[in-house]
Amino acid sequence: MTMWFAGFAVLLVKMALVLGVALTGAAYLVLVERKLLGRMQLRYGPNRVGPFGLLQPLADGVKMILKEDLVPQGADRFLFMMVPAVLPLTTLLAFAVVPFGTELTIMGQQVPMVITDLDVGVLFVLSLSSVGVYSLALGGWASNSKYSLLGAVRGVGQMISYELPLGLSLVPVIMLAGSMSLVDIVNAQADMPFIVYQPVAYVLFVLSALVEVKRTPFDLAEAENELQAGFHMEYSGMRFALFFLGEYLNMIFLGAFAALLFLGGWHGPVLPPFAWLLIKTAIMPILLIWIRASLPRLRPDQMMRLCWVWLAPLALLNILATGAVMLLKG
């Protein structure tokens, strides 16, 4: 019984740690994005609150909490109030299967550095990402606003379309690792990260991930110059902040996911495993910010065409090729 309680306590501590790291990371990712975008556009970005603007996330948080929480007339009140929680919730749940390193030995006990090592980890993550679509669809619908509705229709269309290449791009990795558990997948990359064998899958994954987090050049759901702010236009204060938090958590999560599936997870020389994972996780958000600074927005039909004419068939061909090579090699 004491063992059970100890296990439970360790689990709670792990959850608190992951929650704290993820939320702080998301808050500071906003700062990093604003700074980087600023420098890429020949300006400074936030530099007033604290040294180098380091306290800016705190100031943003205080501002968001103190802002008035508006519910538009004719809105579906209950759905409108509840929906912003969906996106951060699903993303934080997905962090439960992310392993942060090899096992840790505390007081003679082997403690795995993952909240739960699910047998079907990759599928779990994909299923949660498909649930995140609800925040968009319901948020846009419940606001009772034309722009929100149009944003929701576009966003749902793009997200359910791009789940296909996202899922299919991960199949070769699962085939190579022979398991859907993230720990097993990372352990299978001890010698060589999968990006070496699967560069096409990595590119497909990054492109689909870009669509899944709805960022430029695929931010059609919130295209400012056509739809004001799209599906979250009517939200204000902390509810709006929750949408934002969800988006940035999602960026970090996709970074961690790509690091685990393609870049070899925590494996790396010299530095401790956790540091390697952090570095590899940071690649994706910074890439996404860089893309945002560089490329203009696509048209909806161009985006759908990219998905169904190029990405999905390419992902299928990649699976076929991987299978053929694996068969030939035995």
Binding site: L36, R39, M40, L42, R43, Y44, I291, A293, S294, L295
Partner: protein, 184 residues
């Protein structure tokens, strides 16, 4: 795809079109920002910039405003209000004068309407406040002790109060015409 170009040329051009912006943004990342940071560095505003409204004084230190209500009438957002009063010597002035800067759009029409050049727009624009009521300025905060853009002009030297001097001795005034000497 352009029909005159081959598929390889257009693919190469497309790839270049996608990749080149990345190089541009990366290069700019290491440039010095061109931002001029505001509270430390303030740009000199042009003379005619339209900012906070003031009530100026004539060279002898008297208020220029004669409370004629023209500025209030012309104001498109109706942010100016006042009450006129008359001094014992017949000189008019504003009993109270109020501008609601929360509504003011700084269009400058009041300045154009003013016959005495009393109301003027300055190039001070830093007037934010926590409370909207702090943006309602009264006469004591509006009045300044100089003549603004026209330091030498004095309305009462031309008109306004009862004429005390001989005709023709005022500023810019020609000698009165003698109607009897004007016959051909």
């Amino acid at each position: 795809m352009d029909e005159r170009k081959g598929i390889i040329t257009s693919a190469a051009e497309g790839t270049r079109g996608i990749l080149e912006p990345f190089w541009v943004t990366l290069r700019q990342l290491f440039h010095k920002p061109i931002t001029e940071e505001y509270p430390e560095f303030k740009r000199a505003l042009p003379e005619r910039a339209r900012g906070r409204i003031v009530l100026t004084r004539s060279p002898d230190g008297e208020e220029r405003c004669v409370a004629c209500q023209l500025c209030s009438a012309v104001c498109p957002v109706s942010c100016i209000s006042m009450q006129s009063a008359v001094r014992e010597d017949g000189r008019r002035y504003a009993g109270w004068f109020r501008i609601n800067f929360g509504r003011c759009i700084f269009c400058g029409l009041c300045e154009e309407a003013c016959p005495t050049l009393a109301i003027q727009l300055t190039n001070d624009f830093e007037m934010s406040a926590d409370d909207p009521m702090q943006l309602v300025h009264e006469k004591d905060t509006l009045t300044v002790d100089h003549g603004g853009r026209h330091p030498d002009y004095d309305f009462y030297r031309h008109a306004g109060v009862a004429v005390r001097r001989e005709p023709g001795s005022h500023e810019d005034e020609d000698a009165p015409v003698n109607p009897k000497s004007n016959f051909p």
